[in-house]
């Protein structure tokens, strides 16, 4: 089987990253924004794994990093959802446009 070149994998991860960024900036719904952030994190994970495999095949650092990031992303999602629930309780919506108490 022919190997996929590194550049294509990087292309995929870059695309994933900017899709995530687009989502983060355009969506008003906090849950969607959280999903977009997860997309960005995963694009980074792909980068780690790809560079590890292509550049330093005899090392495992990149893989472990990915494992750590997955763990932390899970924790972070839990915290973020707790925040979102609290926001919903106080504002009755999870639309970021409605939570502008920090203005000025």
């Amino acid at each position: 089987m022919q190997e996929i070149p590194l550049s294509q994998i990087l292309f995929v991860s870059t695309a994933l990253f900017f899709i995530g960024m687009y989502g983060l900036f355009t969506r008003r719904n906090l849950i969607t924004m959280l999903m977009s952030i997860e997309l960005m994190l995963n694009s980074v994970n792909i980068n780690f794994v790809a560079f590890n495999k292509y550049l330093f095949p005899d090392h495992l650092d990149g893989l472990f990093f990915t494992l750590f990031i997955i763990t932390i992303a899970a924790a972070e999602a839990a915290v973020a959802i707790a925040i979102i629930i609290n926001l919903y309780r106080s504002h009755n919506s999870i639309d970021v446009e409605n939570a502008t108490e920090m203005k000025n």
Partner: protein, 645 residues
């Protein structure tokens, strides 16, 4: 050399009492606060008697001369090699003598206060402050380093402030405490500068070393301090005069005396302790401590002499006209301290020439007992009639027999009638003055007569003058409980007995005992003058006959001036209110408000402006913040990739 370390406990016990009563006193210990304070002080007193016995009779003497012993030395702050602030304990004749005086007078006051202050709301606080004062006074006495003296000196000032303003809901007491604090603080500024001058030229702050260096004429330190001069006086004169200024402030010497009469607003036992027997003699003690250095400089000693003599005379004249019994006693204290000061001033160092020094210390010793007795007696009287004014008293001798006898003994002692204590010490001072300086002798003699006059004016006004008060509500509580009578009796016994101590065997300027004897012929004049003054007072005041008013009218202006305390307070008020406040205080206040504060406010304004400008960036929209964040990352990436490769 034997061990004197246990002396450390003498000041530490009152300190511990202060801490315990200060923290727990009001809530938990208010019923036993007095007993606790008295018990700890009793222990201190016993320890100091043990120390005195050990020092004077067992091992203080080497080859017939009392030694200076440094019992403890601990380097506390070292700012340069050989230049450090040490904490130490010095044992020499005067410090041991002062230990005995301070602890025993303080003990008497503690016992007396058990009765006098009973039922006060802040009883525990009162005892806490008394303990703090006793601790700082004992610390001052034992200090081996002049900076350590200064620290305890300030502590003494603070505790005096606290005790004067004990009745803090009385405006007069608050004003008096502030006055006492500010006046003595002002004097302490001089003291500090004096310490710095002596320390700078002497290269040390240790009292023993300073004395050693400044008394040997060939030492480099002595040469440098005497050759440097400022405004026509050598730096040695300046340093000693400034140190004396600190002493004059605490000892209420003219013209820094104005706080002492007002300080009588404090509770009477406090006046007995602080403003009669212990704190006010700190100035005398300080001069005595530095005495060998003072003898190296004629002009500084002359200042001590004349300030002392002027205060003695000045205060005695005022005392003749005051009507508040505590104020009379305050001026009498000032006058007696003046005595001690000029006795030091006319003295020389060493041998028979050091008679003045020994006489001064002797007078300090006897004065502490009879003056605290007078104050405690006055306390008893005030406790009974609830007034400080002479006109509310009279005829009390039947109602208060014990107080009457004690007060009479103290009056005879201060008047210098043999065989009471004051006679012996005053004779020594007069003898020394007669040999050294005839002018001073004249002033001293006149002051002695005045002293007898105003003391017996006080005595007759309180205990004779009128018939016993008709309304008998006084009878109900009599002379007060035995805790108030016992100290009077003990102190009265001291006022009779302490004069017979062969003081010159123990305390002299150089430690070697000298021989003194009472010259009967010499004593005739002062004693006769005192007796005459007493008879004069008796004829004026024993019965109300109006003679005194006629004499007062005959003196006219002088009487009014003395009654108004020679307008010294008014002079101070004029200087501060009319000169210092508008010409110095207000420009400085202006500069502080407009320049110092102005700069700070300008900084605050700039910060406010900037924050208003950048406030718009805070949109409150979380996505905008994310945008800035990514924008920042992009900028950083460009910087790292293309510019700082």
């Amino acid at each position: 050399m034997s061990n004197y370390l246990y002396i450390l406990w003498i000041p530490l016990l009152p300190l511990a009492t202060f801490v315990i009563l200060g923290i727990f006193g009001r809530k938990y210990l208010s019923s036993i606060a007095g007993l606790l304070g008295t018990a700890s002080l009793l222990t201190s007193t016993i320890l100091s008697f043990v120390a005195a016995k050990q020092y004077f009779f067992v091992d203080g003497k080497v080859n017939g001369v009392y030694q200076k012993i440094v019992a403890l030395k601990y380097t506390w702050l070292e700012f340069a090699p050989n230049m450090s602030i040490d904490l130490g304990i010095i044992i020499d004749p005067i410090s041991v003598m002062m230990l005995v005086v301070v602890t025993s007078v303080s003990l008497m006051v503690h016992v007396f206060s058990l009765g006098y202050m009973k039922g006060e709301e802040r009883f525990a606080t009162y005892y806490a402050f008394l303990s703090l004062f006793t601790f700082s006074m004992l610390g001052l006495i034992l200090s081996s380093n002049i900076f350590q003296v200064y620290m305890f000196w300030e502590l003494v000032g603070v505790s005096s402030f606290l005790l004067i303003s004990y009745y803090f809901n009385k405006p007069a007491a608050v004003a008096a405490s502030k006055k006492a604090f500010i006046v003595t603080r002002f004097a302490d500024l001089g003291f500090l500068i004096g310490i710095l001058i002596l320390g700078y030229y002497g290269g040390t702050l240790d009292i023993g070393l300073l004395i050693e260096r400044f008394t040997s004429v060939h030492s480099t330190q002595f040469l440098s301090i005497t050759s440097a001069s400022f405004l026509g006086a050598s730096m040695l004169t300046w340093g000693l005069t400034l140190v004396f200024m600190g002493g004059a402030g605490k000892s209420a010497m003219f013209p820094l005396h104005i706080w002492l009469p007002d300080a009588m607003e404090g509770p009477t036992p406090v006046s007995a302790l602080i403003h009669a027997a212990t704190m006010v003699v700190a100035g005398v003690y300080l001069v005595a401590r530095m005495f060998p250095v003072f003898t190296m400089d004629e002009s500084a000693l002359n200042i001590v002499t004349y300030v002392g003599a002027a205060s003695a005379l000045f205060a005695a004249i005022i005392a003749c006209t005051q009507t508040d019994i505590k104020r009379v006693l305050a001026y009498s204290t000032m006058s007696q301290i003046g005595y001690m000061m000029f006795a030091l001033g006319i003295s020389k160092n060493g041998g028979e020439n050091g008679l003045g020094y020994m006489a001064s210390m002797f007078h300090l010793f006897t004065h502490a007992f009879f003056k605290s007795l007078l104050f405690l007696g006055a306390g008893s009287v005030i406790h009974m009639v609830h007034s400080n004014e002479m006109k509310d008293m009279g005829g009390l001798r039947k109602l208060m027999p014990i107080t009457h006898i004690a007060f009479l003994i103290a009056c005879l002692a201060i008047a210098g009638i043999p065989p009471f204590a004051g006679f012996f010490s005053k004779e020594e001072i007069l003898t020394a003055a007669f040999h050294e300086n005839k002018i001073i002798y004249g002033i001293a003699l006149f002051t002695a007569a005045l002293t007898s006059f105003y003391m017996f004016r006080l005595y007759f006004n309180i205990f004779w003058s009128k018939d016993a008060p008709a309304d008998n509500h006084h009878e109900s509580h009599g002379e007060g409980p035995w805790v108030m009578k016992l100290p009077l009796l003990i102190l009265a016994a001291c006022a009779v007995g302490v004069g017979f101590i062969p003081f010159s065997q123990f305390i002299t300027s150089d430690g070697a005992p000298i021989e003194t004897h009472i010259d009967v012929v010499f004593s005739i004049v002062p004693v006769a003058l005192s007796v005459l003054a007493i008879l004069l007072a008796a004829s004026f005041y024993k019965n109300q006959n109006g003679k005194s008013d006629k004499v007062a009218a005959a003196f006219g202006g002088l009487y009014t001036a003395a009654h108004k305390k020679f307008y010294i307070d008014e002079v101070y008020l004029f200087i501060t209110k009319k000169i210092i406040f508008p010409f110095i205080g207000q420009p400085i206040a202006w500069a502080d408000k407009n320049i110092v504060d102005g700069f700070m406010q300008w900084l605050a304004k700039i910060t406010l402006k900037v924050s208003v400008l950048i406030k718009g960036l805070q949109s409150g929209k979380v996505q905008n913040y994310a945008m800035y964040f990514f924008g920042g990352i992009v900028v950083l990436s460009i910087l790292f990739i293309y510019i700082w490769k």
